[in-house]
């Protein structure tokens, strides 16, 4: 019979406490406290609970990654100027937006971000840039909108779609917005490739009109720097959804479906969507931050008049400790 020592050349180590799953991947150990033989594996992508924001909100703007992020504005239910920054371990309130607004577009980093449009009221064209310390007004959108898709950097960013069921796409060069080719399908509240660029972005799902049940779409479009083209649909049509990643590696998660709210997460590989680990809690009007392998789902409406501070963190791959069972 093969033995562990025969295969590995060493005995199974005995430990009083488990190492972290990441440290232990590929190893086996005996936990002397729980008298259990354990091993760690690389598992599929999964959502874990994260550090809650200080202000509960739906439809905020956001920029950055899961290491360094910025979240601002949104519905609390009143519209807010509140801005929070994430430093990798905690959220801190920083300088407020000049004007409270709901559902602005957002892109850039935690120290160089753009807030585009939103509802102040009314739906407006106003934009502000964030320099890590304060917000400053910058060039206005050509068409006022809210609940739009957005991606890029502070000097090369873009917005697409939005309310009132827009197709308009505009590109920002750091000071001025320029209209470019429209989306094929007018929509608001879709999922964006938050880390996309002005030459490669993705917009998927969303709300295409007020009529139920035809309001939700699974349609996905890709931007190539010149025009939008339709590509593979989501598996689950959804409105009030959000996303993260790039035009070739992205996630879409949360949103509204015919039976209520969804926790479903789908992963985009540049060609097709695949269902991956679901959020623990279904919600809508959340905001996605980060990439397809490390993402945040922040805030949202788990119920119509509830504005949550909750954050869930997606990691792919994730690492898992298992106990050897003998039956």
């Amino acid at each position: 019979m093969a033995t562990y020592k025969g295969i590995k050349g060493v005995r199974v180590q005995s430990l009083a406490t488990d190492p972290t799953a990441l440290e232990a991947v590929g190893t086996v150990w005996y936990n002397t406290a729980t008298t259990a033989l354990k091993y760690a594996i690389q598992g599929a992508g999964a959502w874990a609970s994260g550090t809650a924001m200080t202000t509960g909100r739906a439809t905020p703007g956001s920029a950055g990654t899961t290491s360094l992020a910025l979240v601002w504005a949104g519905e609390t239910p009143s519209y807010t100027v509140n801005t929070e920054t994430w430093n990798g371990s905690s959220w801190s309130e920083v300088a407020n937006l000049p004007v409270a607004r709901n559902a602005p577009g957002g892109f850039g980093t935690s120290t160089a971000a753009v807030s585009a449009g939103g509802y102040a009221p009314p739906i407006n064209t106003a934009c502000d840039t964030w320099n890590g310390t304060s917000w400053t007004a910058t060039g206005a959108l050509n068409s006022g909108t809210q609940m739009m898709g957005s991606s890029g950097t502070q000097t090369a960013g873009m917005k697409f779609g939005g309310d009132d069921y827009d197709t308009e796409t505009e590109i920002f060069d750091g000071s001025t917005w320029t209209e470019v080719a429209d989306l094929n399908l007018a929509r608001k509240s879709g999922g964006s490739s938050t880390l996309g660029t002005t030459t490669a972005s993705l917009f998927t799902g969303g709300e295409v009109g007020p009529a139920i049940p035809a309001r939700r779409t699974a349609n996905t479009e890709l931007w190539n720097g010149t025009s939008w083209s339709e590509t593979a649909n989501l598996n689950t049509a959804r409105d009030a959804t959000t996303g993260s990643g790039t035009s070739t590696l992205a996630l879409v998660f949360s949103g509204g479906i015919s039976t209520g709210l969804t926790a479903l997460t789908e992963s985009w590989n540049g060609t097709s969507w695949t269902e991956v680990g679901a959020l623990a809690t279904a919600s809508k009007n959340c905001q996605g931050i980060g990439s397809n392998t490390s993402a945040f789902n922040v805030g949202g409406n788990p119920a119509p008049t509830t504005y949550t501070t909750t954050v869930e963190e997606y990691t792919d791959p994730s690492y898992t400790i298992k106990t050897v069972t003998v039956s």
């Binding site: 799953a21 598992g43 599929a44 999964a46 959502w47 874990a48 609970s49 994260g50 550090t51 809650a52 739906a58 439809t59 519905e75 709901n102 559902a103 509802y119 009221p121 009314p122 739906i123 809210q146 609940m147 309310d163 009132d164 509240s189 709300e207 007020p210 139920i212 309001r215 409105d239 009030a240 509204g256 039976t259 209520g260 926790a263 680990g277 679901a278 623990a280 809690t281 279904a282 809508k284 009007n285 409406n301 788990p302 119920a303 119509p304 008049t305 509830t306 909750t310 954050v311 990691t315 994730s318 690492y319 898992t320 400790i321 298992k322 106990t323």
Partner: protein, 100 residues
């Protein structure tokens, strides 16, 4: 029995981990109700988060009550908020559902 039920308050970071999500089914619902895969890891998680065990009928009653509360809140919203309208995030009247 595939799942077990409890109430517990989400305390943020560490409340449920990637490890937990790979080791047992977990979903959160209104009223701090959690549906937890009924295996050793799931039972251990309920103990770790100081969850209060519930039978399914009681967990369902908590969720139903919270949904009825949310439905009443939605019913009391101004008309322009009930249909997708300028300035508002899209919210729809919650629908009751059966816990897994």
């Amino acid at each position: 029995m595939a799942n077990t039920y409890c109430t517990a308050t989400n305390t943020g970071k560490g409340f449920f981990t990637h490890d937990d999500r790979n080791n047992f089914y977990l979903s959160g619902h209104a009223g701090d109700v959690w549906v937890v895969g009924n295996n050793a890891a799931g039972v251990s998680w309920i103990n770790r988060v100081s969850g209060t065990a519930k039978v399914k009928a009681d967990a369902q009653a908590i969720v139903d009550g919270k949904i009825e509360e949310a439905q009443a809140n939605w019913d009391n919203l101004p008309a322009d908020k009930k249909t997708p309208a300028e300035g508002y995030a899209t919210v729809t009247r919650p629908i009751k559902y059966i816990l897994p």
